[in-house]
């Protein structure tokens, strides 16, 4: 099956164009202004319109500065993903290595309980969070968003990390135990470092889910903790939509995701596939 079949490049090329064109449109629109957006489609910078940096000036320090929302996103999403990664890795390790039992539930039932949280449409709990946060005065706070996103990311982390821990040879851990290492240090010093590449992939994927989240952010934040997706949505106002700003902010939020995609492409799959089987 090593023969190169040239015809493959036709469907692959077509799909590549389908994937790339919308991205291209976002990139060129980020350099447009009022005059080059309206009055028909403009395809090529310098050829049929004059690109300008108006959008970038406006979002990087102007009236529509994205620096604060960017910081909110980084803090709330970064902190929550980190907490979820620590708690989730511990749980995944415990579930993979110990035969737990509570009432009728065994390890794989507990693991199913955790992963099944992913099945719940987020809108189910967001109403409750709105009221609870209102009472606890956590609305529009970074702490509140960090808490929500921790719960959001945790099931995915457990799911993925189980797959990675299963691949760690148990002999290494046994050897360390026999040499007198305690359980916590076997976890922190041996098992966890061995899953490092998987942890990176898991972190990036969980990060991307919260990073892109719109539902929680739109309901639970206003200004003090508004995240990038909210800022993008806010560019659509009563005075018209600032398409150039939307595209420029989108590009800022896309960059970490594209880097993640390049890293993830292989690792992601191991996690998705490895964590589900037992």
């Amino acid at each position: 099956m090593r023969t190169t079949r040239r015809w493959r490049y036709i469907p692959l090329g077509l799909w590549a164009i389908f994937v790339l064109f919308p991205l291209y449109w976002v990139v060129i629109t980020a350099f447009k202004d009022n005059s080059s957006i309206y009055g028909g489609a403009r395809w090529l910078p310098f050829v049929d319109y004059h690109p300008n940096l108006g959008a970038w000036r406006s979002i990087l320090g102007g009236d529509n500065s994205v620096l604060a929302p960017l910081a909110h996103s980084l803090i709330a999403v970064g902190a929550s993903t980190f907490i979820a990664l620590v708690l989730g890795s511990m749980a995944a390790y415990g579930l993979v290595r110990f035969p737990l039992k509570v009432a009728w539930m065994r390890s794989h039932d507990i693991s199913f309980f955790i992963i099944s949280q992913r099945m719940m449409p987020p809108v189910v709990i967001v109403m409750a969070f709105f009221i609870l946060y209102r009472h606890l005065q956590l609305l529009d706070s970074l702490l509140g968003m960090t808490i929500v996103y921790t719960g959001f990311a945790l099931p995915i982390v457990v799911w993925f990390m189980q797959g990675y821990f299963r691949q760690v040879p148990i002999e290494l851990e046994e050897a360390a135990l026999i040499d007198g290492a305690g359980r916590p240090s076997v976890f922190w010093r041996i098992a966890l470092p061995l899953t490092a590449p998987g942890m990176v992939a898991t972190f990036l994927l969980a990060f991307s889910f919260s990073w892109n989240d719109f539902l929680f952010a739109v309901m639970l934040t206003q200004t003090k903790a508004s995240t990038l997706p909210i800022t993008i949505a806010q560019q659509q106002g009563e005075l018209g939509t600032a398409w150039w700003n939307i595209c420029a902010i989108s590009l800022i939020s896309i960059v970490p995701m594209v880097i993640a995609a390049i890293f993830l492409q292989k690792r992601l799959v191991t996690g998705l596939l490895g964590g589900s089987g037992r």
Binding site: M1, R2, T4, R8, P11, L12, W15, A16, F18, V19, L20, F21, P22, W25, V26, T29, G39, G40, A41, L87, A91, G94, V96, R97, F98, P99, M119, M120, P121, V123, V124, I125, M127, A128, F130, I131, H135, G151, L154, I170, E174, L177, G180, N212, F214, L215, M219, A233, Q236, C247, S250, I254, M257, A261, L268, V269, T270, L272, L273, G277
Partner: protein
């Protein structure tokens, strides 16, 4: 004697055969206790952040809580559920969600499978295509919604500019209620085919070359190979991938909110969107919670049914 030595001794005295797979030689009590020390924090966090809000939502749906009543619980009532059953908008939103899922997921599966077949073998530029094809699923739904609104724009968008150039006129991608559904599905295909592609590619790459070569030598043609060998092997991956996509489709929100706002009329109002409108634009939180719980019940029912059918089909395939 140190604790470590005690641990070692008891560890060595246990026979390995009666240990569960993956279990380590440790005193039984210590093993379970330290296992819980690992698992408990995550379980408690989830009970607090997912299970408790879920129960709270349930309580909301049996009460009358809105900003008008100062967010306090009133008497228990079945009113919300009764209203829901007779709410045409709810059923319309379910119908849209179902149609959307039923068209989008199979389309994504077929395309994703095709792309994965094309990229299974090492070909020049394969790495480039693989990375490129994954990018859409990493973008924010908000970005994707706006992106497609620009593309579909009748006067300034590129799609209609091309159609006008070909004298085909403007179909009104987002203004006709049937076409708007198609437009939303197309956007979803753009966004989520990557996930199916990625998972199926991994599944396909797990099939040893020898198996496919043997099939060819035995005279199987391409279609037979795919139907008899490839499908049964990637079956489990397919089930999981479709399952994941299905669940996410039921919760679709951000992209549609920004592409069509649920319109024209209610043509593209997904159930999540409907719950959002009820809960946060009219601030009837109880009703919003009721709608979302009905959605959850439906997701669980469909998911269970899907897994049951998948299990039956897979058994047949394996024979």
């Amino acid at each position: 004697m140190t604790a470590a030595a005690a641990e070692r001794q008891s560890g060595e005295s246990g026979t390995r055969s009666d240990l569960p797979r993956g279990g380590l030689p440790l005193p039984r009590l210590g093993r379970i206790a330290s296992g819980w020390a690992f698992v408990l924090p995550a379980v408690l966090v989830l009970l607090l952040l997912n299970t408790f809000p879920l129960i709270y939502s349930l309580a909301l749906s049996f009460s009358q809580v809105s900003t008008d009543t100062g967010l306090s619980f009133g008497h228990a009532t079945l009113g919300n559920w009764r209203i829901l059953l007779h709410d045409d908008n709810f059923w319309t939103s379910l119908q849209f969600t179902a149609i959307f899922t039923v068209i989008a997921v199979p389309a994504e599966y077929v395309i994703g499978f095709g792309l994965a077949l094309l990229l299974r073998d090492h070909i020049a530029g394969g790495g480039f295509f693989r990375v490129l094809f994954v990018i859409p699923m990493m973008l924010a739904p908000v970005t994707i919604g706006f992106m497609w609104r620009m593309l579909y724009d009748p006067s300034n968008g590129p799609i209609d500019a091309v159609l006008r150039g070909l004298h085909l006129g403007s179909p009104g991608w987002l203004s006709g209620s049937h076409l708007a559904v198609v437009s939303v599905v197309l956007m979803d295909v753009w966004e989520w085919t990557p996930l199916l592609f990625l998972l199926l590619l991994a599944g396909l790459q797990g099939i040893p070359d020898e198996v496919l070569d043997a099939a060819r030598i035995d005279g199987a043609n391409g279609l037979q190979t795919i139907m008899r060998i490839v499908f049964p092997i990637v079956g489990p991956v397919s089930v999981m991938a479709i399952f994941l996509r299905m669940i996410d489709c039921f919760g679709v929100f951000g992209q549609i909110f920004l592409l069509t706002g649920g319109g024209p009329g209610t043509a593209t109002t997904s159930t999540t969107l409907f719950a959002f409108f009820q809960g946060f634009q009219t601030f009837n939180l109880s009703y919003g919670a009721t709608i979302s719980l009905a959605l959850l019940v439906l997701v669980i029912a469909v998911a269970t049914l899907f897994l049951l059918i998948a299990r039956l089909v897979m058994r047949r395939v394996q024979i």
